[in-house]
């Protein structure tokens, strides 16, 4: 174990704990707040792995915008303080879900672990300059497509939120 490994495992355990609580807690808003813990620790993981820009964008876009949107949606819809059993699934349902998830983890581990290898390797730090050059050089077309996607989703969100037809008689 190297110092980087220790940092990685520390942030990783924190992220896993946050993620686990995010999918199991009965407090609806707490789920989103645990997601913040998970995403924040993942930013730490990225930092340890030498991807500084990814870590910062994770904080800026994921925690600053996506989670805020999720929290906004939770607050606008019904989300009481305290545990809520309205939307709870049955234990059998959860058991099946856990089995499927565990199977998925086992499958992925079986495939990925041999590829990862067990030896220590030199960490490649991505420099911001190289990243910028590649992003607007090699990846320019996907980048442009992505901006098109963002525009489309913006328009789509507006169109969906504006439409009153689905709500029927009641005017919201």
């Amino acid at each position: 174990m190297t110092a980087l490994d220790v940092a990685l495992v520390g942030f990783g355990l924190l992220a896993l704990a946050g993620a686990l609580l995010a999918v199991t807690t009965r407090h609806i808003v707490h789920a989103a707040l645990w997601l913040v813990v998970a995403l924040g620790s993942l930013a730490g993981v990225y930092l340890v792995l030498g991807a500084e820009i990814v870590a910062l964008v994770q904080l800026l876009v994921y925690v600053g915008a996506i989670v805020v949107l999720v929290l906004f949606a939770l607050m606008v819809t019904r989300s009481p303080i305290g545990p809520s059993r309205d939307h709870a699934t049955s234990p059998a349902h959860r058991g099946v879900a856990a089995v499927i998830a565990a199977g998925l983890v086992a499958l992925l581990l079986a495939v990925l672990l041999p590829i990862a290898g067990s030896g220590a390797v030199t960490r490649q730090v991505t420099s911001n300059r190289a990243l910028g050059a590649d992003l607007f050089g090699t990846w320019a077309w996907p980048f442009e497509l992505l901006s098109l996607l963002l525009l489309a989703s913006l328009v789509a969100a507006l169109a969906i939120a504006r439409s009153r037809a689905v709500t029927g008689k009641e005017d919201a």
Partner: protein, 97 residues
């Protein structure tokens, strides 16, 4: 120096937890949280492979940036749908109304 396997285990577990969240939740927004965790698992895998390959490459950082952008677009549309659905009936994805 760094080992690759802890990051791979982390990514796999994140994907597993996210899958559990998608399957076991009924509140639409909570399902979305599971999806976010799966996407993050993929991101960790990308960044980890970018950091541990022998040939320097920026793809390990570029692709996560793309995924984060796609996640933002996805969340915007999904939440618009959720709010509309909430206005119409309720927030339960399994509810028939």
């Amino acid at each position: 120096m760094i080992h690759a396997w802890p990051a791979v285990v982390l990514a796999t577990c994140l994907i597993g937890i996210g899958a559990y969240g998608v399957l076991a939740r009924r509140n639409a927004v909570l399902v979305l949280i599971g999806v976010e965790l799966i996407l993050n698992g993929a991101n960790v895998l990308f960044v980890a492979s970018g950091a541990t390959v022998s040939v320097p490459s920026t793809a390990g950082s570029v692709l996560p940036l793309f995924i984060i952008t796609i996640a933002a677009a996805e969340v915007v549309v999904a939440l618009a749908v959720v709010l509309l659905a909430f206005r119409a009936s309720g927030i339960d994805v399994t509810e028939k109304s």
